[in-house]
Each structure stands twice: as structure tokens, then as C-alpha cells.
Symmetry: C2
Subunit: 362 residues, 2 copies
């Protein structure tokens, strides 16, 4: 391979274009192909590389098309460039890669990839050179030659990502649990709001907003993802359904245990305790537990400069704000801002803010 | 009733003490009682009122004990003060109020209440005078005299809350859907992480964090709430379980439709579309839809003053930040901050931030 590897990106949507921009910045020579020529043109304008010309022989092909088209595109790219390393960016790996091999892709040259990055917008115009920066980029080696795995690893690093090797099945089981099942729960919960009367919805708070945020996701993409990762997701759903059925049967008066408040309470308590323990396994910032922070809440008037004034006050006091959350109050030009700080800094922060005239609530 | 209504608060935990502090500030005379005398003493030190003395005849009794003890306490307060208006603050209404009446509470003097406020901490020391400010305070009139309903409405207003009348059953059905079911889903999802291998969890992103945040809730309180609102919650769970089972049966290869990718995709697509529509019903800030904002993402170095510098830059440009989200990157002293602004302000904000040397990612 020469000093400036030649890459062909097939599919110049959000991810393909962002990769092109990052690789171009890192000195790769990037060629762009899209089923929709206008899309590749936009990607070029975004700085993702040059439009593909005939005669180019890439060393690496990055297939960045939706999961439903990926196997076919991977297989034909593998045939078209019989020496190239072929990788993809699908968020489902086993199904896509085995389909690709079934369609004729050469497994010794096929390295699966999944950059854990996205945005709430799609298409080349949403692409950003730093989209992959500091994100995990899972690499599933499959049956590929070791040097080809390293080629794809280098490519991920060139995009600023953190490569992480995992076998395809492990990847799929992991994302089924930590991503895909959560998407389905959010969608199901949000869907149940469709028939909810308006005044019931008016009682909703931050909790429901957190629990349904994912439900705003792209329908086409997620249909593909869920369909392609059906089996691992079904396993997680089985578990979740089983847990919910146990709770429901403890709650329902017509069930065996129904009407027994003690048994019901014991069942509920057990689930809540497990939930406490489970969420504690999720790493907080820098691996520290999120519960190690204290909140300082301030009611802000909703006008330009108020957040600046707030952070200027905390910043000059040498206090490091670990997280911020703004809860807006319906119909009022104000918002409650919660600053998460180390417990030993909370009293000082409160004092500084009160001195500067802020409406400190906690 | 005289100019300074006399209130007895029974139960001086987080909510009772916060109400006492707010009412004292508003000119009410507040008496404090707690099963644990030390707790009432702390509440007094917090400014929630005076310790109860014998001979005091309150016009209003606020029962602020956990749901499991509330019916009993409401009933005995109703007997102890035969002319007083009695209200409570439980987040479940029909069960608690009907139990209280069954135990001898006078329904004509009983007005249910539910201030929609809380904190992640409990106890009198966590109380804040502004805890109820601008929060909805649901009032369930039941069979109470109209003037007594107005007494409790005035009390809610004196705490800075927004009173909202609703019948008890409607309240319970509403909170079962918009709060209690979400709590159970969060706990079940978080509980499923208990047996998840560490490397799978390392793949988790912001979505799972959102979906499990509620799972860190107080076990004792939520056991009471869920047990007391069993029937409406069971109804919502039935619906959710039904939806999940449909999805699972579309996904599973051993089911009727299993193995039919088109049928599976159609099913998934339908759920995702409904989820899109359902989440759009949740009001965003000021009633506007959250999707009307654009995000500007900036990679910040994690040191005091960086957020201040960021907001100072946006504030001086006259840009109103509608929301803020900080995504921390594991193991790195930096964080991706997303600023949500009106779409027409996003380009100007990007320009200002780039000019000031920020690492703007989107």
C-alpha cells in the first residue's frame, strides 16, 4: 500500500460523507460513489473527497449504505475490486456480513465495522468531519486477514475514533440490549401516548421525556436495523416481557397473587432494587458513578445571556460543572437549570450564585 | 378563617418540610408533627414552621406521609380536628382517599392533592422553599365542600404551584401512563443490565442512559406508589406487553410470521411511526415542538470556565440557548456539549463559536 491509501466510499449519506471528510483531512485519497449522483456531488462539496472516476482501483472500500442494501453492495464491491479490503458501517453485523458472504463477498477481505456515531439528521449535508471523533468504532474481524483488520483499524483511528475489536455475534447481542431494545421500548411507550387524552399528557414530566426521546428516531433506518438484528432483539424482548408479566401479575386483582398487597409490594420492590443496581453499572462521566454529584438548581429568566451569566459565575469561582440539565416550564418564560457538581463544591457554588442575585432553588 | 390560616403538617420529609417553608414564607402559621420527633425538629430548623403544641386547632391539615401510611393518618387527623380541611400530597389518589374514607375520614372535608415535585434526595434536609414553584399541583376535589377545595387551591398557590383540578381516577390513570409505567420500564430495562457482560455495557450510549435514568429512584417510595396504583398501571402494562409481544412475534423465527422479513419490517415500521407521532404529542419548551430546534455541538476541554466561555460567546451574540446537553466521553477529560437553538440562529452561533476558537463539531 502506498503512503496515501485510496479509499472508495459507496453511499454518501451522513456516515459515508463524514468518514470521507475525516479521511480526506487525514491524508487519504477518497473517491465517492452514490446511487444518487447528486448526493455524491453534495458530499464532494462538503469536502468528503472526489467523485469516482473510471479506472480507479481502491485499496479499501467503505460500504456506507443502509443495512438492507449493504450485503448486496458489499458483495459486488468485493467482486469489482478483487484485491481491496472491504468494510461497512452497519449497526448490525452478523446478518449483514453473512448475507454478503452468501452473495459472493470474499470473507478473507471482509472486515465488519460499526462507528457508534450518529445525528438526529441524515444525508450528506448533515455530515461533519468530527462526527466519529472519540466515538467507539467496533471492528468485527470475521475471517479476514490480520493485516486487513489493521488497515480498517487504521482507518477508524484516522477518523478520530476509538477502535474496539469484537466478534460479530457479540456485537449484535450487545447492541440488541444496550441500544435496539431501548429503541423499541421508547417507541412502544411513545406510541401508547397516541390515544392518551390531552390533559393526561399535561401531567407528564422529565421522566417521560427521557423515556421517549429515542422514539423520535428515523423510521426507515430503524426498521432495517431491528429487522436485521431480529434474533438477539427477540431474546432481550423475551426477558423484558417476562419481567413485565411478572409485575403485571403481581398488580392485577384477577391473578393468583392479585389482591395480596404484600406479595405485590415484594415483587415491585425486587424489580426496583434490581433497577437501582443495574443502572449503577452504567458508567458515568470518566467512569465515575453519576450519583456522586450534587445538583444546584437555579430558576433562570429565559433571555439571551442568562446561561452565560450563570456559567460565568460558577466558572470564576473555579467550580467545574459536570453536567447541566434544563427543565423548561410549560407556558412560562423561564427554566430550571440544574448544575451537577462535586458534592464538596455545591455549597460554594450556591453561595456564589446567591451573591450574584440568582434565584437558587436547591 | 382568620387572616393567617393555621396549618398542621403531618410528616416532615422532603415534601412536607418544603410545603412548610413555602407556607411560612407566604404568611401561614405552620405547625409541624412527625412520627420521628427529630425529623420535625430538623424541619423547624429549615424554617418550615414551629413544633406542634397541644391545644392548637388547625384549619388545614396537610398529610405528607408515604402512601402506605397516608389513609390511616388522614382518617385520624379528620377525627382529631372535626372542622379542619384535610389534604394530602400522595402521588396516588383514588386508593389513598377511598381507604382514608373507609377508615373514617369525613369526605366533605377531604381534598386530595398531588404536587408534581420531587428531588433525588429525601428527608427534611433536602427540602427547599421553592420545590413546588411553578410545578403543577393536582387537586382532586372528591366529595369535599367547594370552599374547602378553594382553601387547598389557595394553599397550593401560596407554595408557588399551579393548581389543576382533576378527579382522582383520572389523575391515577394519567400518572400510571405518564409516570408509573415509565418507572417500571426503566427499572426492568436497567435490571436486565445486571447480567450483561462488562464489554457489552461499554457499548452503551446516551440512549440507554436516558432510558434508565429513572431506575435510580427511591425503592421504598416507588414500591408504595406502584402498589397503591396497581390497577391503572396494570392496564398500561397490558398495553405495553401486548405491543412488545406483537413485535417479538414478528421478530422470532419460530413464530407464524417469523422468517418473513417483509411482515417483520411492516410491523416494526408501524411501531416506529406510532412512536414518532406519540413523542410529538409531548409538549416541548413553551409548548413548542422540540424538533423545531437545531443543535450546535462543541467539544469542550473539561476544566472550570469552559462552559462559561461557551455561554458567554453565545450570549453576547444575542443567541438564546433553548436547551443544553453534555455528553461525556468515557476516560477522556472532555465532553461534547450540544446547544439547542432556533434554526435561524444556528449558523450565527457556529460562526461566533468558531471565531472564538471553539472546537465546533456540528
Amino acid at each position: 500500500m502506498n503512503a496515501r491509501p485510496e479509499v472508495l466510499i459507496i453511499g454518501t449519506g451522513l456516515i459515508g460523507t463524514s468518514i470521507g471528510m475525516a479521511l480526506t483531512t487525514s491524508g487519504y485519497v477518497v473517491h465517492l460513489r452514490d446511487q444518487v449522483p447528486g448526493q455524491a456531488f453534495v458530499a464532494r462539496e462538503m469536502g468528503a473527497g472526489q467523485l469516482e472516476e473510471s479506472g480507479v482501483i481502491p485499496q479499501i472500500v467503505v460500504v456506507a449504505v443502509p443495512p438492507r442494501y449493504a450485503p448486496q453492495v458489499i458483495a459486488s464491491a468485493s467482486r469489482e475490486y478483487p484485491k481491496a479490503t472491504v468494510t461497512d458501517v452497519c449497526s448490525v453485523k452478523e446478518h449483514v456480513l453473512s448475507q454478503a458472504v452468501a452473495l459472493g463477498a470474499d470473507p478473507s477481505r471482509l472486515v465488519g465495522g460499526h462507528p457508534m456515531a450518529g445525528r438526529e439528521v441524515s444525508g450528506a449535508t448533515g455530515a461533519r468531519v468530527g462526527l466519529m471523533s472519540d466515538r467507539v468504532w467496533i471492528i468485527t474481524p470475521g475471517l479476514a486477514d490480520e493485516w486487513r483488520i489493521e488497515v480498517v483499524t487504521d482507518l477508524a483511528i484516522a477518523c478520530g475514533a476509538q477502535p474496539l475489536r469484537m466478534d460479530a455475534r457479540t456485537h449484535d447481542v450487545a447492541v440488541a440490549r444496550v441500544s435496539h431494545a431501548a429503541q423499541i421500548l421508547a417507541s412502544v411507550l411513545a406510541a401508547s401516548l397516541l390515544d392518551t387524552p390531552e390533559d393526561h399528557i399535561s401531567v407528564a414530566g422529565q421522566g417521560l421525556r427521557d423515556m421517549t426521546r429515542l422514539a423520535a428516531s428515523n423510521v426507515g433506518l430503524w426498521t432495517d436495523i431491528v429487522t436485521a438484528n431480529a434474533e438477539p432483539i427477540a431474546e432481550v424482548l423475551d426477558e423484558v416481557i417476562g419481567s413485565l408479566q411478572e409485575i403485571r401479575s403481581a398488580l392485577r386483582p384477577d391473578s393468583n397473587r392479585g389482591g395480596d398487597p404484600e406479595a405485590c409490594a415484594a415483587e415491585i420492590r425486587q424489580v426496583l432494587v434490581k433497577g437501582n443496581d443495574g443502572v449503577a453499572r452504567l458508567p458515568g462521566k470518566h467512569g465515575r458513578d453519576a450519583t456522586h454529584f450534587q445538583t444546584v438548581a437555579v430558576m433562570l429568566v429565559d433571555q439571551p445571556g442568562e446561561l452565560a451569566r450563570l456559567f460565568a459565575a460558577s466558572g470564576t469561582a473555579g467550580i467545574n460543572t459536570e453536567d447541566v440539565r434544563i427543565e423548561h416550564i410549560l407556558g412560562r418564560p423561564s427554566g430550571l437549570v440544574e448544575l451537577f457538581v462535586a458534592p464538596d463544591q455545591a455549597p460554594a457554588l450556591r453561595q456564589v450564585l446567591i451573591e450574584r442575585g440568582f434565584d437558587v432553588r436547591t
